[in-house]
């Protein structure tokens, strides 16, 4: 499989009262054609900043300071805005966490779906509307011919997320970035949306970058996983490797905080403490203060990504002494 997206060494900073502080640091990963990559981590670990950096949709106080983002071999960092606009919505599309507020309340559904076709493909009004109906059918919306002329407030959250997916699919993108696409939806709808994404991925032959904090979703959807903590990649590898042999104590903590139906009912385990704030990043390993295995070395010296096996890496000194069980 050839590489579609190659993110290497990306550092994105935000202007704060204390100057520019990095929200993500030295983030690297790749997405191959046809692959689904999961990015996991708790709130504030930099998942969304990573995706917004790729799209270059950071807020005005944020900027990519270092690194390279190559899409089909083409460097995106430093592209002029009008060049980047040709990529957004066309080659790389994105859906967001909040379907209730992500659609423009004053425009009809059809117009919002057709918009990227009109921007990128030069469609006319009627042509865009016809294609919008087709896309609504593709994402499984009943009565597509009527819904196309409805306003968003007439639709439920699940329906709106389907519309968001239809918008994203309009120009047949090679990469879909889905930022917590099911978090705001109830469980049955979540499953439907994930099914839909899987179906579309197969039909339209695209890659997906799926951002989530839900490891259940990752297990179901992804080929590979990148685990992020406090703005850094702490572990990456194939889904199977990560689930069978989680190597970073943070990943271990995440996995053990999933509630299980089978087995003895115990108190749900959680990782004590919080993600350190941008202002107070520790010098050593960023997870050290919450880590049950932390040593003096962890506090003073930051580990790099160390190989676990094959394509499986973890940013932990425990990997230095191969074979240590976590």
């Amino acid at each position: 499989m050839s590489t579609l997206l190659e993110v290497s060494g990306v550092t994105t900073s935000f202007k704060t009262a204390n100057g520019f502080l990095p929200a993500i640091e030295d983030v690297s990963f790749t997405i191959k054609k046809g692959e689904t990559l999961g990015i996991v981590g708790e709130s504030g670990c930099g998942k969304s900043v990573t995706s917004l950096s790729i799209m270059q949709l950071l807020t005005a106080n944020g900027k990519i300071e270092r690194g390279s983002i190559r899409f089909n071999g083409r460097e995106l960092v430093g592209l002029k805005d009008n060049e980047m606009r040709k990529v957004r919505g066309n080659d790389i599309a994105m859906i967001f966490q909040e379907p209730m507020t992500s659609l423009n309340p004053v425009h009809k559904i059809g117009r919002q779906i057709g918009e990227s076709l009109r921007i990128h493909k030069g469609y006319g009004k009627a042509q865009a509307r016809a294609k919008a109906i087709e896309l609504l059918k593709l994402v499984g919306i009943p009565r597509a011919e009527e819904i196309v002329d409805e306003y968003p407030h007439r639709l439920s959250g699940g329906m709106r997320q389907r519309v968001m997916i239809a918008i994203a699919m309009a120009c047949n993108p090679q990469l879909l970035i889905a930022d917590e696409p099911t978090t705001a939806l109830d469980v049955t709808i979540q499953a439907q949306i994930l099914d839909l994404m899987r179906k579309l991925k197969a039909e339209l032959d695209m890659s997906i970058m799926l951002i989530t904090h839900d490891l259940g979703v990752v297990a179901e959807m992804c080929d590979r996983v990148v685990v992020m903590y406090a703005g850094k990649v702490v572990e990456q590898g194939n889904v199977k490797d990560i689930f069978r042999n989680p190597s970073h104590p943070y990943t271990v903590g995440l996995l053990s905080s999933i509630p299980r139906l089978e087995g003895r009912q115990e108190r749900l385990s959680s990782i004590p403490g919080n993600v350190p704030s941008l202002e107070l990043m520790p010098a050593g390993c960023r997870f050290a203060s919450r880590c049950p295995h932390a040593t003096q070395r962890c506090v003073t010296e930051e580990p790099s990504l160390l190989p676990v096996s094959g394509e499986h890496d973890a940013r932990c000194w425990l990997m230095d002494e191969k074979g240590v069980a976590v």
């Binding site: 799209m55 949709l57 805005d81 009008n82 606009r85 040709k86 990529v87 957004r88 919505g89 066309n90 599309a93 994105m94 967001f96 909040e98 507020t101 992500s102 659609l103 423009n104 309340p105 004053v106 425009h107 919002q112 918009e115 990227s116 921007i119 990128h120 306003y151 407030h153 968001m164 918008i167």
Partner: protein, 306 residues
């Protein structure tokens, strides 16, 4: 929608009747006698009584009000005590000039205020925002008559581009309208700035940008329509009050509109004219409020009428 409009018109009539009662009572309850005002301070008591009788001022207030309303229903607003002409004629002569000034002044405010609002929202707390905000603050702080006189002096007199004052064609409207635009635009700018900042930070704007929409497309197709509602609310009140006459500006520019008529009538205690102009202004307030409420629903489909 139609049912809503009919209901609203019914409500408006009640409002107008209420306003007519209050104005009527206030105009006649002031401690001054209109008959005395007409004949002058040195006329004899007998003459005052005679005039009172002529005008029907000797009848009790409620009776006079009923008479007034009877006439009003027949389209008769009475006759000016001072100018000796029907009030409908007096208003009719000036309504064109006032409407022209009102609409032009309103457009001038929007043309100045909306771009300033958009710019200061997009460049919030940056240099350009500070520049336009200060300009707007200057505009809002300067007295209307001062701006009017400066424009008159520079544009009317020194440059000799436009008439210095008076009433006539559109040329006579530009300077008074511009005066109003400069002094009133800042309200629009401020309203639009804050709602525009809110809208620009919303999720659907991020969606639009994620589609590859250009900045202009994002601002004008996606953001402005969502941000314009507060501007519309204020705009309705503003243009309605403009139709009631722009007293200071009309005075500065010697512009013969409803505002001037009203001021003269108040000075002379010319009650039929006061009543006529107040009701005229109230009618426009009610009409524009209705129009704005209907426009809300057209601009934002989430607003429904029931």
């Amino acid at each position: 929608m139609i049912a809503y409009i009919i209901r609203r018109i019914g409500g408006s009539i009640i409002v107008l009747i209420g306003i007519s009662i209050i104005t009527f009572a206030l105009a006649y309850l002031v401690p001054a006698n209109p008959a005395r005002a007409i004949v002058g301070p040195h006329a004899s008591e007998a003459l005052v009584l005679k005039v009172e009788q002529q005008l029907g001022l000797n009848e009790p207030l409620p009776v006079r009000y009923i008479h007034y309303m009877e006439n009003l229903v027949h389209g008769n607003l009475g006759t000016s005590y001072v100018l000796d002409q029907p009030v409908t004629t007096l208003i009719g002569q000036r309504v064109g000039a006032t409407a022209q000034l009102a609409v032009t002044a309103w457009i001038a405010e929007l043309l100045i205020g909306i771009p300033i609002g958009i710019i200061s929202a997009l460049y919030d707390r940056k240099a350009l925002d500070h520049v336009v905000s200060i300009l707007a603050l200057v505009g809002i702080s300067l007295p209307v008559f001062f701006v009017g006189l400066e424009l008159m002096y520079w544009v009317g007199f020194k440059l000799d581009w436009l008439p210095v004052g008076g009433t006539g064609g559109f040329n006579f409207v530009i300077l008074p309208a511009l005066t109003y635009g400069i002094t009133g635009a800042a309200y629009y700018a401020r309203l639009l700035k804050s709602s525009m900042i809110d809208v620009m930070n919303s999720d659907y704007i991020r969606t639009a940008r994620a589609k590859g929409a250009s900045p202009n497309r994002v601002i004008f197709r996606h953001a402005l329509r969502n941000a314009i509602i507060p501007v519309l609310t204020y705009g309705g009140i503003d243009i309605a009050s403009l139709f009631g006459g722009v007293v200071v500006i009309e005075d500065v520019f010697g512009y013969s509109g409803i505002g001037q008529l009203t001021v003269q009538a108040i000075n002379n205690l010319d009650v039929p004219v006061i009543m006529g102009t107040v009701l005229f202004a109230a009618l426009f307030v009610v009409l524009f409020n209705l129009l704005v409420d209907v426009l809300y629903g057209i601009i934002d489909p989430r607003i429904t009428y029931s």
